[in-house]
Symmetry: C2
């Protein structure tokens, strides 16, 4: 069965190719039964595109909290018939595991080797390097990113505490359910946040959790800024309650110029660049092709968003 | 057979323990048949310690070019009898492979992810990240460091060109003899220098070799500063003939304040800190214990320095 897919509102050539590679028809919106969405990311834009015959929407990011917060996954479209189940939504979650894990490893190694500090130096100094090897790493939210990170850490003989409700984290030393994530903090040299942004994860790292960490431990966030209470983080860094923070995501984001985090010696900020643009397009195109094939075959789609969990 | 070892001129407790752990006797210099040297690293200091009954000297570093250049390994001690073979010298080479390889990986990932640039930023910017995964990595001088680096690169699916005359580089895509190292340069995204400093390797990266590299490739030096012609490197960086340089070692070293390399956007300098101090002491103590045992058993020592090759 061929599926009629609209790619839009931006007609991105790489995504049109990805649909066609799977044998899908690329059609105008009014004739579509599926949407590969790429646009402003304003939930209202997508909502206005949904019509009764749309059975599936592919979103272009791993994190979909902006659509979840706007109720796109739960509220029936105002124009839909009573009792309509609405379309299935899929995210790109899982397709960016390896590139984002690579960034997390880069940040951990930079922290261990003091690269944040040395990059700013203008003269020679003492050897204050630490080894990543042998460290204890807590991975909070251990999905596709976390699993890829565990593979990358294998040569370093780290003790790895994976926090996930899926129960599956091959290679982890210990697996904890999310409700017990605080138990992973006191022993960790590195706390890597890789959990989805949902109402339940918002602010899961505040003063209390930062206070449980070691004073030489680094917080590494490659998930979403809102999982960390920024004011509490600034306070913990100022007071020396943790060793440092490497943040690919911030709250607010972009982090405004002049924010105290920009000034701190033990902070390294990257501008939501954990997923390099070429890896982003490759991962998204692969996900689109795989899901068009699965839709045609009636197979379960990859990255289906739970309307109750929001990821 | 128990070996009588002098630890000095600095009586370092960790090294005394390492000798005793292997069953060796720690004795004053005049009664010693072996020296575990730790001191100023001035070759004259060691030369003054050598006497007729010294059969083995353990040096405290992986690179031993300062003693080689001073002729310590080749010239007979002025006081020794004619025809005396002189002691066997061993280096710590190979005992620091993993920690130094970890530093090389940290530098490569920093280059890929732009951490040298982002650490200096004081405001948000665009995503200019690259992936390390899938890159081509040339490892010039593939001994203990290079072999450890190949293991660490395994999850990244890199094409690895190992330059070594040993012929053994498990996991490398291609192995080239040192005489052909220039052939590895045109394809490499990262050129990692991990060769010993000898008269043959001095200046092996000058204008010609830098000119063979890609304009987006990074030079990563975790070996010795003298393997790179600093003036040529500065010129190549200024002219955009290579992408950047991550240098743990420099020539001169320490790199003086005000040197042009400190000012460059695409340069990351670490202060000869590839081997963290705890790893240094652990590796050296392990090497001392292993070699005292081997000496007692009449087995071949680890890290024997060739008087002709100087490493």
């Amino acid at each position: 069965m061929t599926v009629a897919v609209h790619v839009g509102p931006e007609p991105v050539p790489a995504l049109i190719d990805a649909v066609r590679r799977a044998g899908g028809d690329v059609v105008p919106l009014e004739r579509a039964e599926a949407i590969v969405y790429y646009g402003s990311d304003d939930p209202a834009e997508l909502r206005a595109m949904l019509h009764d015959r749309i059975r599936w929407v592919q979103l272009p990011h791993a994190g979909v909290e902006r659509w979840a917060d706007a109720g796109v996954f739960t509220a029936a479209d105002p124009g839909s018939a009573p009792g309509s189940a609405g379309p299935v939504f899929t995210a790109a979650a899982g397709s960016y595991g390896a590139p984002v894990a690579e960034h997390a490893l880069a940040l951990m190694l930079a922290a261990a080797r003091g690269l944040h500090r040395l990059a700013r130096a203008t003269e020679w100094g003492p050897n204050r390097s630490r080894e990543l090897a042998g460290s204890t790493v807590a991975i909070v939210g251990c999905g596709g990113i976390g699993r890829a990170l565990i593979r990358m850490l294998e040569p370093f003989g780290c003790t790895i505490v994976a926090v996930t409700d899926s129960g599956a984290a091959p290679g982890a030393t210990t697996v904890l359910p999310r409700a017990r994530y605080r138990d992973a903090l006191p022993e960790a040299d590195y706390v890597v946040i890789a959990a989805p942004a949902t109402p339940e994860t918002r602010g899961m790292f505040g003063a209390k959790e930062l206070g449980l960490m070691r004073t030489d431990a680094w917080l590494v966030n490659v998930a979403r800024g809102g999982l960390v209470v920024t004011g509490d983080l600034v306070e913990a860094l100022r007071a020396g309650r943790i060793g440092g923070a490497a943040l690919d995501v911030t709250d607010p984001e972009p982090l405004p110029a002049g924010h105290p985090l920009w000034q701190m010696d033990n902070v390294l900020i990257t501008p939501h660049s954990a997923n390099p643009r070429p890896a982003y397009w490759r991962g998204l195109a692969e996900r689109v092709t795989a899901n068009v094939r699965r839709f045609e075959e009636g197979a379960p789609l990859e990255g289906v968003i739970s309307s109750t969990q929001g990821f």
